[in-house]
Protein backbone atom coordinates (compact mmCIF):
# COMPACT_ATOMS: atom_id res chain seq x y z
CA UNK A 1 0.00 0.00 0.00
CA UNK A 2 1.18 3.53 -0.81
CA UNK A 3 0.01 6.87 0.50
CA UNK A 4 1.15 10.32 -0.57
CA UNK A 5 2.05 13.36 1.56
CA UNK A 6 2.99 16.91 0.62
CA UNK A 7 6.31 18.13 2.04
CA UNK A 8 8.63 21.12 1.93
CA UNK A 9 11.82 19.08 1.26
CA UNK A 10 12.50 15.51 0.04
CA UNK A 11 12.71 13.72 3.41
CA UNK A 12 10.37 11.79 5.70
CA UNK A 13 11.59 14.01 8.55
CA UNK A 14 10.87 17.12 6.47
CA UNK A 15 8.29 19.70 7.37
CA UNK A 16 4.83 18.95 5.93
CA UNK A 17 3.68 21.38 3.20
CA UNK A 18 0.13 22.64 3.81
CA UNK A 19 -0.54 23.28 0.10
CA UNK A 20 -1.55 20.32 -2.05
CA UNK A 21 -1.26 21.66 -5.61
CA UNK A 22 1.70 23.90 -4.88
CA UNK A 23 3.65 21.77 -2.44
CA UNK A 24 7.43 21.50 -2.80
CA UNK A 25 7.60 17.70 -2.87
CA UNK A 26 5.24 14.77 -3.14
CA UNK A 27 6.38 12.03 -0.78
CA UNK A 28 5.19 8.48 -1.44
CA UNK A 29 5.31 6.35 1.72
CA UNK A 30 4.51 2.75 2.56
CA UNK A 31 2.86 3.20 5.98
CA UNK A 32 3.84 -0.31 7.17
CA UNK A 33 7.56 -0.27 6.33
CA UNK A 34 7.96 3.57 6.24
CA UNK A 35 9.88 3.18 2.98
CA UNK A 36 9.63 6.44 1.10
CA UNK A 37 10.39 8.10 -2.20
CA UNK A 38 10.22 11.85 -2.89
CA UNK A 39 9.26 13.55 -6.16
CA UNK A 40 9.68 17.28 -6.73
CA UNK A 41 6.38 18.91 -7.68
CA UNK A 42 7.01 20.07 -11.24
CA UNK A 43 3.92 22.27 -11.19
CA UNK A 44 4.84 24.28 -8.10
CA UNK A 45 5.05 27.49 -10.20
CA UNK A 46 2.52 26.66 -12.92
CA UNK A 47 0.13 29.54 -13.68
CA UNK A 48 -2.91 27.32 -13.19
CA UNK A 49 -4.02 23.72 -12.85
CA UNK A 50 -1.30 22.76 -10.37
CA UNK A 51 -3.75 20.89 -8.13
CA UNK A 52 -5.16 18.92 -11.05
CA UNK A 53 -1.71 17.85 -12.21
CA UNK A 54 -0.75 16.84 -8.66
CA UNK A 55 -3.97 14.79 -8.42
CA UNK A 56 -3.10 13.20 -11.76
CA UNK A 57 0.31 12.26 -10.32
CA UNK A 58 -1.27 10.71 -7.24
CA UNK A 59 -3.54 8.45 -9.31
CA UNK A 60 -0.78 7.61 -11.81
CA UNK A 61 1.37 6.44 -8.87
CA UNK A 62 -1.53 4.23 -7.68
CA UNK A 63 -1.57 5.77 -4.23
CA UNK A 64 -4.55 4.96 -2.04
CA UNK A 65 -4.79 8.02 0.17
CA UNK A 66 -3.54 11.62 0.32
CA UNK A 67 -2.41 13.60 3.36
CA UNK A 68 -2.04 17.37 3.00
CA UNK A 69 -3.00 20.60 4.73
CA UNK A 70 -5.40 22.07 2.18
CA UNK A 71 -7.01 21.12 -1.13
CA UNK A 72 -8.25 23.60 -3.75
CA UNK A 73 -11.59 23.01 -5.49
CA UNK A 74 -10.04 21.60 -8.67
CA UNK A 75 -7.78 19.21 -6.76
CA UNK A 76 -10.71 18.26 -4.55
CA UNK A 77 -12.93 17.42 -7.53
CA UNK A 78 -10.14 15.52 -9.24
CA UNK A 79 -9.24 13.42 -6.18
CA UNK A 80 -12.90 12.83 -5.44
CA UNK A 81 -13.48 11.61 -9.01
CA UNK A 82 -10.57 9.23 -8.53
CA UNK A 83 -12.19 8.01 -5.29
CA UNK A 84 -9.18 8.87 -3.14
CA UNK A 85 -9.64 9.79 0.53
CA UNK A 86 -8.19 13.23 1.37
CA UNK A 87 -6.82 13.57 4.90
CA UNK A 88 -5.80 16.76 6.69
CA UNK A 89 -2.57 16.55 8.70
CA UNK A 90 -3.82 19.14 11.17
CA UNK A 91 -1.27 19.81 13.91
CA UNK A 92 1.32 17.24 12.70
CA UNK A 93 4.74 18.59 11.71
CA UNK A 94 6.47 15.69 9.95
CA UNK A 95 5.33 12.94 7.57
CA UNK A 96 6.37 10.33 10.15
CA UNK A 97 4.04 11.88 12.74
CA UNK A 98 1.16 12.15 10.23
CA UNK A 99 1.53 8.52 9.19
CA UNK A 100 1.41 7.37 12.82
CA UNK A 101 -1.89 9.26 13.28
CA UNK A 102 -3.17 7.97 9.95
CA UNK A 103 -2.54 4.38 11.03
CA UNK A 104 -4.38 4.85 14.30
CA UNK A 105 -7.31 6.57 12.50
CA UNK A 106 -6.74 9.97 14.11
CA UNK A 107 -6.51 12.09 10.96
CA UNK A 108 -9.47 14.18 9.84
CA UNK A 109 -11.05 13.31 6.47
CA UNK A 110 -11.84 16.32 4.26
CA UNK A 111 -15.52 16.90 3.50
CA UNK A 112 -15.34 19.99 1.27
CA UNK A 113 -12.59 22.00 -0.46
CA UNK A 114 -11.03 24.81 1.54
CA UNK A 115 -9.46 27.36 -0.81
CA UNK A 116 -10.80 29.02 -3.93
CA UNK A 117 -8.17 27.71 -6.35
CA UNK A 118 -6.68 29.47 -9.31
CA UNK A 119 -8.82 30.01 -12.37
CA UNK A 120 -7.86 31.13 -15.85
CA UNK A 121 -4.44 32.41 -16.90
Amino acid sequence: MKIILTTVSPDIESELDPRFGRCGYLLIVDPDTLEWQAFPNPRVAAPGGAGIRAAQFVTDQKCEAVISGDYGPNAYNALKAAGLPMYLFGSCHTPREAIERYKTGQLELLAAPAGRGRRGW
Binding site: G48, G49, I52, R53, Q56, T59, A81
Partner: protein
Amino acid sequence: MSYIEPRDRKPMMIAIASGKGGTGKTTVATGLAVSLAADRKQDLPASSPPLFLDCDVEAPNAHLFLKPVFEERQEVGILIPQVDEARCTHCGKCAEVCQYHAIAVLGKKTLVFPQLCHGCGSCTLMCPEEAITETLDVMGLLERGPTPSGVDFARGVLNIGEPMAVPVIRQLKRWAIPESDQDVIVDASPGTSCPVVEAVRGADFLLLVTEPTPFGLHDLRLTVEVARELNIPAGVVINRDGIGDLGVEEFCNVKGLPILLRIPFDRSIAEGIAQGKTLVEIYPDAISLFQQLFSWIVNGVQRNFYPVSD
Protein backbone atom coordinates in the same frame (compact mmCIF):
# COMPACT_ATOMS: atom_id res chain seq x y z
CA MET B 1 -10.40 72.05 -46.15
CA SER B 2 -9.65 68.42 -45.44
CA TYR B 3 -6.30 67.29 -44.14
CA ILE B 4 -6.88 63.69 -45.03
CA GLU B 5 -5.09 61.97 -47.86
CA PRO B 6 -6.99 60.91 -50.99
CA ARG B 7 -8.80 57.61 -50.79
CA ASP B 8 -6.29 55.69 -52.88
CA ARG B 9 -4.25 55.14 -49.74
CA LYS B 10 -4.35 51.84 -47.84
CA PRO B 11 -6.88 51.83 -44.96
CA MET B 12 -5.36 52.16 -41.51
CA MET B 13 -5.84 50.30 -38.27
CA ILE B 14 -5.01 52.64 -35.39
CA ALA B 15 -5.00 51.23 -31.86
CA ILE B 16 -5.35 53.50 -28.86
CA ALA B 17 -3.70 52.26 -25.66
CA SER B 18 -2.26 53.46 -22.36
CA GLY B 19 -0.67 51.74 -19.44
CA LYS B 20 -2.57 53.85 -16.97
CA GLY B 21 -6.34 53.70 -16.72
CA GLY B 22 -8.36 56.90 -17.03
CA THR B 23 -5.84 58.78 -19.18
CA GLY B 24 -8.35 59.42 -21.97
CA LYS B 25 -8.06 56.49 -24.39
CA THR B 26 -11.78 56.46 -25.07
CA THR B 27 -11.89 60.28 -25.29
CA VAL B 28 -9.23 60.20 -28.00
CA ALA B 29 -10.60 57.09 -29.78
CA THR B 30 -14.18 58.38 -29.96
CA GLY B 31 -13.07 61.88 -30.98
CA LEU B 32 -10.92 60.46 -33.77
CA ALA B 33 -13.70 58.14 -35.01
CA VAL B 34 -16.32 60.92 -35.08
CA SER B 35 -13.91 63.25 -36.90
CA LEU B 36 -13.13 60.62 -39.56
CA ALA B 37 -16.85 59.92 -40.00
CA ALA B 38 -17.53 63.67 -40.45
CA ASP B 39 -14.90 63.86 -43.16
CA ARG B 40 -16.30 60.79 -45.00
CA LYS B 41 -19.73 62.40 -45.33
CA GLN B 42 -18.30 64.77 -47.94
CA ASP B 43 -16.73 62.00 -50.03
CA LEU B 44 -18.05 61.33 -53.51
CA PRO B 45 -18.61 58.52 -54.21
CA ALA B 46 -19.44 57.64 -50.62
CA SER B 47 -16.69 55.73 -48.79
CA SER B 48 -17.14 53.38 -45.85
CA PRO B 49 -17.46 54.92 -42.39
CA PRO B 50 -14.67 54.21 -39.88
CA LEU B 51 -15.03 51.00 -37.91
CA PHE B 52 -14.70 51.48 -34.15
CA LEU B 53 -13.80 48.41 -32.11
CA ASP B 54 -14.27 48.68 -28.34
CA CYS B 55 -11.81 45.97 -27.27
CA ASP B 56 -12.01 46.81 -23.56
CA VAL B 57 -14.31 43.82 -23.23
CA GLU B 58 -14.10 43.67 -19.42
CA ALA B 59 -15.51 47.18 -19.08
CA PRO B 60 -16.58 48.53 -22.48
CA ASN B 61 -17.78 52.13 -22.27
CA ALA B 62 -17.23 53.79 -25.68
CA HIS B 63 -20.92 53.19 -26.47
CA LEU B 64 -21.79 55.76 -23.79
CA PHE B 65 -20.19 58.44 -26.00
CA LEU B 66 -20.95 57.15 -29.50
CA LYS B 67 -24.50 55.84 -28.75
CA PRO B 68 -24.70 53.07 -31.36
CA VAL B 69 -27.87 51.20 -32.28
CA PHE B 70 -26.87 47.53 -32.32
CA GLU B 71 -28.20 45.60 -35.29
CA GLU B 72 -26.08 42.45 -35.20
CA ARG B 73 -25.28 40.21 -32.24
CA GLN B 74 -23.19 37.07 -31.88
CA GLU B 75 -22.46 34.92 -28.84
CA VAL B 76 -18.82 33.88 -28.58
CA GLY B 77 -16.67 31.61 -26.50
CA ILE B 78 -14.25 28.76 -26.80
CA LEU B 79 -14.74 25.13 -27.78
CA ILE B 80 -14.27 22.94 -24.75
CA PRO B 81 -13.93 19.14 -24.76
CA GLN B 82 -16.70 16.77 -23.82
CA VAL B 83 -15.63 13.18 -23.17
CA ASP B 84 -17.73 10.20 -24.20
CA GLU B 85 -17.03 7.88 -21.26
CA ALA B 86 -18.27 4.88 -23.27
CA ARG B 87 -15.50 5.31 -25.84
CA CYS B 88 -12.77 6.61 -23.51
CA THR B 89 -10.10 4.03 -22.64
CA HIS B 90 -8.45 6.38 -20.09
CA CYS B 91 -5.16 6.22 -21.96
CA GLY B 92 -4.25 9.71 -20.68
CA LYS B 93 -3.07 11.20 -24.00
CA CYS B 94 -5.46 14.16 -23.65
CA ALA B 95 -4.13 15.05 -20.19
CA GLU B 96 -0.56 14.68 -21.42
CA VAL B 97 -0.93 17.24 -24.22
CA CYS B 98 -2.99 19.78 -22.27
CA GLN B 99 -0.74 22.75 -21.42
CA TYR B 100 -3.30 24.12 -18.97
CA HIS B 101 -4.15 20.96 -17.01
CA ALA B 102 -7.77 21.43 -17.99
CA ILE B 103 -8.31 17.72 -18.53
CA ALA B 104 -7.22 14.92 -16.20
CA VAL B 105 -7.45 11.15 -16.35
CA LEU B 106 -7.95 9.86 -12.84
CA GLY B 107 -8.09 6.10 -12.80
CA LYS B 108 -11.27 5.19 -14.64
CA LYS B 109 -12.51 8.72 -14.97
CA THR B 110 -11.64 11.57 -17.36
CA LEU B 111 -12.45 14.97 -15.96
CA VAL B 112 -12.68 18.34 -17.78
CA PHE B 113 -12.07 21.63 -15.94
CA PRO B 114 -13.76 24.20 -18.23
CA GLN B 115 -12.41 27.24 -16.34
CA LEU B 116 -8.84 26.25 -17.16
CA CYS B 117 -9.50 25.31 -20.81
CA HIS B 118 -8.12 27.67 -23.48
CA GLY B 119 -9.99 25.91 -26.29
CA CYS B 120 -6.86 24.93 -28.23
CA GLY B 121 -8.33 21.59 -29.35
CA SER B 122 -5.17 19.54 -28.69
CA CYS B 123 -6.99 16.92 -26.63
CA THR B 124 -9.60 16.36 -29.35
CA LEU B 125 -6.87 16.05 -31.95
CA MET B 126 -4.77 13.60 -29.90
CA CYS B 127 -7.56 11.27 -28.71
CA PRO B 128 -6.94 7.91 -30.44
CA GLU B 129 -10.50 6.74 -29.68
CA GLU B 130 -12.21 9.87 -31.03
CA ALA B 131 -14.01 10.02 -27.70
CA ILE B 132 -13.85 13.83 -27.44
CA THR B 133 -16.33 16.19 -29.04
CA GLU B 134 -16.25 19.98 -28.60
CA THR B 135 -19.04 22.20 -27.35
CA LEU B 136 -19.19 25.99 -27.28
CA ASP B 137 -18.66 27.48 -23.83
CA VAL B 138 -20.18 30.95 -24.14
CA MET B 139 -17.94 33.64 -22.62
CA GLY B 140 -19.33 36.82 -24.08
CA LEU B 141 -21.25 38.74 -26.69
CA LEU B 142 -20.26 40.68 -29.81
CA GLU B 143 -22.44 43.59 -31.00
CA ARG B 144 -22.28 45.85 -34.05
CA GLY B 145 -24.33 48.78 -35.33
CA PRO B 146 -24.15 52.36 -36.63
CA THR B 147 -23.93 55.52 -34.50
CA PRO B 148 -25.76 58.82 -35.17
CA SER B 149 -22.38 60.39 -35.98
CA GLY B 150 -21.85 57.87 -38.79
CA VAL B 151 -19.39 55.50 -37.14
CA ASP B 152 -19.62 51.74 -37.73
CA PHE B 153 -19.41 50.60 -34.09
CA ALA B 154 -18.63 47.13 -32.72
CA ARG B 155 -17.77 45.89 -29.28
CA GLY B 156 -17.18 42.76 -27.26
CA VAL B 157 -18.62 42.18 -23.80
CA LEU B 158 -17.07 39.56 -21.53
CA ASN B 159 -19.60 37.79 -19.30
CA ILE B 160 -19.28 38.49 -15.57
CA GLY B 161 -17.13 35.91 -13.85
CA GLU B 162 -15.29 34.80 -17.00
CA PRO B 163 -11.53 34.91 -16.43
CA MET B 164 -10.29 35.15 -20.03
CA ALA B 165 -10.80 38.29 -22.12
CA VAL B 166 -8.48 37.34 -24.99
CA PRO B 167 -10.81 34.91 -26.84
CA VAL B 168 -13.57 37.54 -26.93
CA ILE B 169 -11.19 40.24 -28.24
CA ARG B 170 -9.73 37.88 -30.85
CA GLN B 171 -13.18 36.93 -32.09
CA LEU B 172 -14.41 40.54 -32.12
CA LYS B 173 -11.54 41.40 -34.46
CA ARG B 174 -12.37 38.41 -36.68
CA TRP B 175 -16.13 38.97 -36.65
CA ALA B 176 -16.23 42.70 -37.37
CA ILE B 177 -14.34 42.43 -40.65
CA PRO B 178 -13.76 45.90 -42.11
CA GLU B 179 -14.64 46.80 -45.69
CA SER B 180 -11.67 47.08 -48.03
CA ASP B 181 -11.62 50.89 -47.70
CA GLN B 182 -12.54 51.07 -44.02
CA ASP B 183 -10.24 52.58 -41.40
CA VAL B 184 -10.32 50.85 -38.03
CA ILE B 185 -10.01 52.52 -34.63
CA VAL B 186 -9.26 50.07 -31.81
CA ASP B 187 -9.94 51.17 -28.24
CA ALA B 188 -7.85 48.89 -26.00
CA SER B 189 -8.11 48.24 -22.27
CA PRO B 190 -5.58 49.81 -19.88
CA GLY B 191 -2.47 47.92 -18.86
CA THR B 192 0.09 45.90 -20.80
CA SER B 193 -1.13 42.33 -20.39
CA CYS B 194 -2.61 39.77 -22.80
CA PRO B 195 -5.89 41.60 -23.59
CA VAL B 196 -3.96 44.73 -24.63
CA VAL B 197 -1.54 42.74 -26.78
CA GLU B 198 -4.47 40.97 -28.47
CA ALA B 199 -6.28 44.28 -29.06
CA VAL B 200 -3.33 46.13 -30.62
CA ARG B 201 -1.93 43.17 -32.58
CA GLY B 202 -1.95 43.88 -36.31
CA ALA B 203 -2.42 47.64 -35.93
CA ASP B 204 -0.57 49.95 -38.33
CA PHE B 205 -0.05 52.52 -35.61
CA LEU B 206 -0.32 52.67 -31.84
CA LEU B 207 -1.50 55.91 -30.29
CA LEU B 208 -0.43 56.08 -26.65
CA VAL B 209 -2.50 58.35 -24.45
CA THR B 210 -0.79 59.60 -21.32
CA GLU B 211 -0.85 62.45 -18.86
CA PRO B 212 2.20 64.57 -17.95
CA THR B 213 2.66 63.18 -14.45
CA PRO B 214 5.09 60.64 -12.92
CA PHE B 215 2.21 58.11 -12.96
CA GLY B 216 1.52 58.70 -16.63
CA LEU B 217 5.22 58.44 -17.46
CA HIS B 218 5.68 55.21 -15.52
CA ASP B 219 2.90 53.48 -17.41
CA LEU B 220 3.81 55.06 -20.76
CA ARG B 221 7.24 53.46 -20.48
CA LEU B 222 5.64 50.03 -20.15
CA THR B 223 3.28 50.56 -23.10
CA VAL B 224 6.13 51.73 -25.33
CA GLU B 225 7.82 48.41 -24.59
CA VAL B 226 4.70 46.61 -25.83
CA ALA B 227 4.77 48.68 -29.04
CA ARG B 228 8.47 47.91 -29.57
CA GLU B 229 7.96 44.22 -28.87
CA LEU B 230 5.16 44.07 -31.46
CA ASN B 231 7.07 46.25 -33.96
CA ILE B 232 4.26 48.78 -34.20
CA PRO B 233 5.16 52.43 -34.80
CA ALA B 234 3.87 54.59 -31.95
CA GLY B 235 3.08 58.19 -31.11
CA VAL B 236 1.87 59.98 -28.01
CA VAL B 237 -1.16 62.05 -27.05
CA ILE B 238 -0.67 64.13 -23.93
CA ASN B 239 -3.97 64.59 -22.17
CA ARG B 240 -4.52 67.06 -19.30
CA ASP B 241 -1.65 69.07 -20.76
CA GLY B 242 -0.53 71.81 -18.37
CA ILE B 243 -0.44 69.78 -15.17
CA GLY B 244 2.42 67.74 -13.71
CA ASP B 245 6.00 67.94 -14.94
CA LEU B 246 8.18 67.60 -18.05
CA GLY B 247 9.06 63.93 -17.53
CA VAL B 248 6.83 62.65 -20.34
CA GLU B 249 8.21 65.18 -22.85
CA GLU B 250 11.81 64.29 -21.97
CA PHE B 251 11.04 60.60 -22.28
CA CYS B 252 9.41 61.13 -25.71
CA ASN B 253 12.47 63.08 -26.88
CA VAL B 254 14.87 60.36 -25.80
CA LYS B 255 12.77 57.60 -27.35
CA GLY B 256 12.02 59.44 -30.60
CA LEU B 257 8.30 59.27 -29.89
CA PRO B 258 6.33 62.01 -31.69
CA ILE B 259 3.89 63.98 -29.53
CA LEU B 260 0.99 64.21 -31.99
CA LEU B 261 -1.72 65.89 -29.95
CA ARG B 262 -2.10 67.80 -26.70
CA ILE B 263 -5.44 68.07 -24.99
CA PRO B 264 -5.47 70.86 -22.41
CA PHE B 265 -6.47 70.39 -18.79
CA ASP B 266 -9.81 72.13 -19.01
CA ARG B 267 -12.84 72.05 -16.78
CA SER B 268 -15.31 72.26 -19.68
CA ILE B 269 -13.84 69.06 -21.19
CA ALA B 270 -14.26 67.20 -17.90
CA GLU B 271 -17.84 68.48 -17.60
CA GLY B 272 -18.69 67.46 -21.16
CA ILE B 273 -17.24 63.98 -20.75
CA ALA B 274 -19.18 63.56 -17.52
CA GLN B 275 -22.31 64.19 -19.61
CA GLY B 276 -21.36 61.54 -22.19
CA LYS B 277 -20.19 63.98 -24.85
CA THR B 278 -17.32 63.35 -27.25
CA LEU B 279 -14.53 65.89 -27.49
CA VAL B 280 -15.96 66.96 -30.86
CA GLU B 281 -19.32 67.74 -29.27
CA ILE B 282 -17.59 69.76 -26.54
CA TYR B 283 -15.29 71.62 -28.96
CA PRO B 284 -16.44 71.36 -32.62
CA ASP B 285 -13.01 72.69 -33.66
CA ALA B 286 -11.51 69.44 -32.39
CA ILE B 287 -12.62 67.81 -35.66
CA SER B 288 -9.87 69.52 -37.63
CA LEU B 289 -7.29 68.66 -34.94
CA PHE B 290 -8.25 64.99 -35.08
CA GLN B 291 -8.23 65.06 -38.88
CA GLN B 292 -4.77 66.58 -38.79
CA LEU B 293 -3.67 63.95 -36.27
CA PHE B 294 -4.98 61.25 -38.61
CA SER B 295 -3.19 62.78 -41.56
CA TRP B 296 0.11 62.83 -39.64
CA ILE B 297 -0.33 59.20 -38.71
CA VAL B 298 -1.14 58.14 -42.29
CA ASN B 299 1.72 60.12 -43.82
CA GLY B 300 4.19 59.02 -41.17
CA VAL B 301 3.29 55.34 -41.42
CA GLN B 302 3.39 55.35 -45.23
CA ARG B 303 6.85 56.90 -45.20
CA ASN B 304 8.12 54.80 -42.28
CA PHE B 305 8.73 58.04 -40.44
CA TYR B 306 7.91 56.71 -36.96
CA PRO B 307 10.61 54.43 -35.52
CA VAL B 308 9.65 50.97 -34.26
CA SER B 309 12.77 50.59 -32.11
CA ASP B 310 14.82 52.82 -29.77
